[in-house]
Subunit: 125 residues, 2 copies
């Protein structure tokens, strides 16, 4: 069981398609993509700022908690900081689990908690 | 809005990481991976057989229906036929949607319907 966390400058690169974790029967990958409008206004991209030590700590806490409560095998979390242009990926969550049900549930829960509990702020550019 | 379907001989290759569909704010990729036990017995892999014309038609019907009911942007569905060794991918579903909620809901529903309504059978090898 492992949780990996990275805060990365700028847009996230293509998913490197790592080997499935041992015991995995379901891998689910979520890419959050910047859309060209925010609150109805056209934008060029989103700029993310993080209070970095706390953001990393919170991501780790949430990841470990969901890993245990949902019985997941592995979780890989990557979030952009800085400018991410439209149509680029700013957040990626990869979950390996035995079956799909717990992976899908954990994915939804993680993203809710990310928005509530992690000090990463976005502003339109 | 589009639904792509492929039945592929043997294990599925690495996801080619196609560009996000226009308007996508969330891409979710599900990989179903063959595990080395089936009903408690060690196996070498799973062999999939399909009644091909009906399987393709059903996948198309389910895909189109979910695209419309959940308001998705695009769906790409690939399923193995023939032998898939342990630890390899035998099914992949890629959903592009505006937001994550409808993508996650459609993914769960699609996989349930795949198991119920699509004439693809597996046997342990």
């Amino acid at each position: 069981m492992s949780v990996q966390i990275r805060l990365t400058q700028g847009p996230l690169a293509t998913w490197p398609d790592t080997p499935y974790a041992q015991g995995s029967g379901a891998r689910i990958v979520f890419d959050g993509v910047v859309r060209p409008t925010e609150d109805g206004e056209k934008i060029q991209g989103l700029h993310y700022e993080a209070y970095r030590p706390m953001a990393e700590q919170q991501l780790e806490i949430i990841g470990q908690e969901l890993l245990e409560t949902h019985g997941l095998i592995a979780m890989d979390i990557e979030h952009s900081i800085g400018l991410v242009p439209n149509y680029k990926c700013s957040f990626r969550l990869v979950i390996d689990s035995k079956h799909r049900k717990e992976g899908l549930a954990a994915m939804d829960e993680f993203i809710n908690r990310l928005k509530q509990d992690v000090p990463i702020w976005k502003s339109a550019k």
